[in-house]
């Protein structure tokens, strides 16, 4: 009967109840749906960074990380490569690359780029480059010794076109300056403008030959089937590989992003609290109004022998019902929005924010629903909601019957 009474009480003033419910629904939606977009953005940022030639784990010659120069080449990577499949968890992919700083020139322009020699078959498994990212021309083939892939942004900057030549200059293994012309056979598009401007890709054998590296590699990038497995796998690699190699996880390679992710849970909680504060004022005020209107009734209840604590419990039961109703609707609305947006292919942020592609954030944001976030948001709304309802509840319990009776 207590619950039935509370239920009827909340429908005494349907309009007011609608206002409270709307506040809760909008609040929950802002927490869960907008929160999922924030998650999606952060996730997209990590994914972009990992795709942009980072991978989950990288193996280098010791010293390469602090000075990515040609001296720190893995000169004889074959034994490592042949062990890799046995060491890595099933479903992992890896690719070995040549990667050096180089100057790209044509008749009018020159710029520093990362000159990357890739295995055209394995590289698409671990990074963004591959047949799908090409918007013009064709992808590298195994025996292409002259072909080079450049980003759309670089192409525009250099005012050049498909089929034109591009000259690359870099220090070779003998510390001589090696220089060679390649022909642009493909133009790629990347999530991030920096990648479009910063990378050029050639066949690995062509790069090795130009730089006199033999079969040497600058780095091996590994992508695991599950990001969770990174720390354990990196540990195993460190143990099994000879001492002159170094192993880094993506968290070490992308320390700024990893740090950001670490405080992201804190951001989410802060986001929930900010929304809750806005929503909480509305809830408290409206419940307070309802309580004052029923002052006389609380006076009668006290005259009947009701203890203050019972009145507190009664008001809390009412707000509990309101919270549960609002949360149910808010969750449905959020899940619906997330579902619809995922099916619509996400939000294209470039429409809202010019230059977003320079920030490391993806142009397209897909909502990411995290179970932990869902639970936290609901717990925040429910328990803080009850907590702030204590204020009007205690107010109601404090009315003395005489006050209550003489107030009307």
């Amino acid at each position: 009967m207590h619950t039935a009474l509370a239920w009827r009480n909340i429908w005494r003033n349907p309009r007011r109840t609608a206002v409270i419910l709307a506040a809760i629904i909008i609040g929950v939606w802002a927490m869960i749906f907008l929160g999922s977009l924030m998650r999606g953005m952060a996730g997209g940022m990590v994914k972009n960074a990992i795709d942009t030639l980072t991978g989950h784990i990288q193996i280098h010659q010791k010293g390469y990380r602090s000075d990515p120069a040609i001296e720190y080449t893995m000169t004889d990577p074959e034994p490592v490569l042949s062990d890799l499949d046995a060491i890595l968890p099933p479903g992992s992919d890896w690719a070995g690359r040549v990667r050096v700083h180089a100057m790209a020139n044509n008749a009018r322009h020159s710029a520093g780029v990362a000159f990357v020699g890739i295995d055209p078959e394995t590289e698409p498994l671990v990074s963004f480059i591959g047949p799908e990212t090409l918007i013009e021309g064709r992808y590298l083939q195994k025996d292409d010794s002259n072909a080079i892939l450049v980003g759309k942004a670089l192409l525009e900057k250099f005012e050049t076109h498909l089929g034109y030549k591009l000259v690359l200059m870099a220090q070779d293994a003998d510390r001589e300056v090696a220089s060679r012309a390649f022909r642009i056979t493909g133009v790629f598009d990347a999530e991030m403008a920096a990648a479009e401007k910063g990378f050029v890709f050639v066949n690995r054998s062509a790069a090795q030959k130009m730089l006199k590296m033999g079969r040497g590699l600058s780095e091996i990038a590994i992508v695991l089937p599950d990001r969770e497995k990174v720390p354990a796998t990196a540990e195993i690699l460190k143990q099994k590989l000879p001492d002159h190699y170094e192993v880094h996880t993506w968290q070490e390679l992308l320390s700024a992003i990893a740090g950001y992710l670490e405080i992201f849970d804190g951001f989410m909680l802060l986001w929930y609290l900010i929304i809750f504060i806005a929503m909480g004022f509305g809830i408290v005020n409206t419940i307070l109004m309802a309580v004052f209107e029923r002052m006389r009734e609380f006076g009668v209840l006290k005259a009947l022998g009701m203890r203050p604590w019972w009145i507190v419990r009664g008001v809390l039961t009412e707000s509990c019902l309101l919270l549960l109703l609002g949360m149910a609707a808010g969750n449905l609305l959020s899940l619906g929005s997330i579902f619809l947006l995922s099916h619509a292919g996400g939000i294209d942020l470039s429409a809202f924010a010019a230059g977003i592609e320079y920030s490391g954030v993806s142009r397209i944001v897909l909502p990411v629903l995290n179970r932990q976030d869902l639970v936290t948001a609901n717990l925040v709304v429910f328990f803080l909601g009850l907590l702030i309802s204590l204020y009007p509840a205690i107010k109601a319990a404090r009315f003395t019957p005489v006050q209550a009776m003489t107030h009307i």
Partner: protein, 234 residues
């Protein structure tokens, strides 16, 4: 004077003083009231507006505190009781009927009567049976499930009386129970209260300034300026 030796005396009020502070003015609502009421009495407190009737009933009911004097209800001395004890006393021993707005609007007649028993922790079935029986006694059979707004003023007051007497309290305090009713309805309510007084020996104290209502009283206590002016047993 030890007042707890008289079990037949349900209410004992001795030298009760109550002064309200209204801004800088002290309003002497009660200036030393003494009164004792025995089991089964049907007593009216009469007096002009502002004489202190409501104040006295509230103090007897433990809703308000006296500044001085002693109150004992059914052997419980208020001076020694905490607020929670008073609430408990009201729940089990004192019934209230106010002038208006007595009922909880979202509860039906039968639920309003049940509510007190719910607070007392009485089982659902017993609650239902007893509240229906008492509503039959106040001639509201067939109106169990009506909400207060679906009942007339007289019917609402009957529900309030039913609620006040359903758990066999030591005393029922009614502050101008007929003031919002027309005289015919008021008469009916009083007859019903008197009937309950006789058949169930419920002790009533009610206030009024209506001459007709005074007629029904077995005992008439006149209050004037916060004092008992006279006390007539009929």
């Amino acid at each position: 004077m030890d007042m707890t030796d008289h079990p037949a005396k349900i209410v004992q009020v001795a030298d009760v003083v109550k002064t309200y502070q209204q801004g800088s003015v002290a309003v002497h609502a009660l200036r030393g009231v003494s009164l004792s009421v025995e089991k089964g009495e049907f007593t009216a407190l009469a007096g002009p507006s502002g004489s202190g009737k409501t104040t006295l009933l509230n103090i007897i009911g433990g809703l308000d505190k006296a500044d001085a004097g002693e109150i004992t209800v059914d052997g419980n001395r208020f001076n020694e009781m905490r607020d929670s004890d008073l609430a408990r006393l009201r729940l089990y021993k004192i019934g209230f009927v106010f002038q208006s707005y007595n009922l909880i609007p979202v509860l039906s007649a039968v639920e309003n009567v049940e509510y007190v028993m719910l607070l007392q922790g009485i089982s659902r079935k017993e609650r239902r049976d007893r509240s229906r029986a008492i509503l039959d006694d106040v001639e509201l059979s067939g109106k169990y499930d009506r909400r207060p707004h679906e009942l007339s003023g007289g019917q609402q007051q009957r529900v309030a009386v039913a609620r006040a007497i359903v758990s066999n309290p030591a005393i029922v305090l009614a502050d101008e129970p007929t003031a919002n009713l027309d005289s015919e309805t008021g008469r009916g309510l009083l007859e019903m209260m008197r009937e309950m007084n006789v058949s169930k020996s419920v002790t009533f104290i009610f206030s009024t300034h209506d001459r007709m209502v005074m007629e029904y009283a077995r005992r008439l206590v006149r209050i004037r300026d916060g004092q008992v002016a006279d006390d007539i047993l009929k």
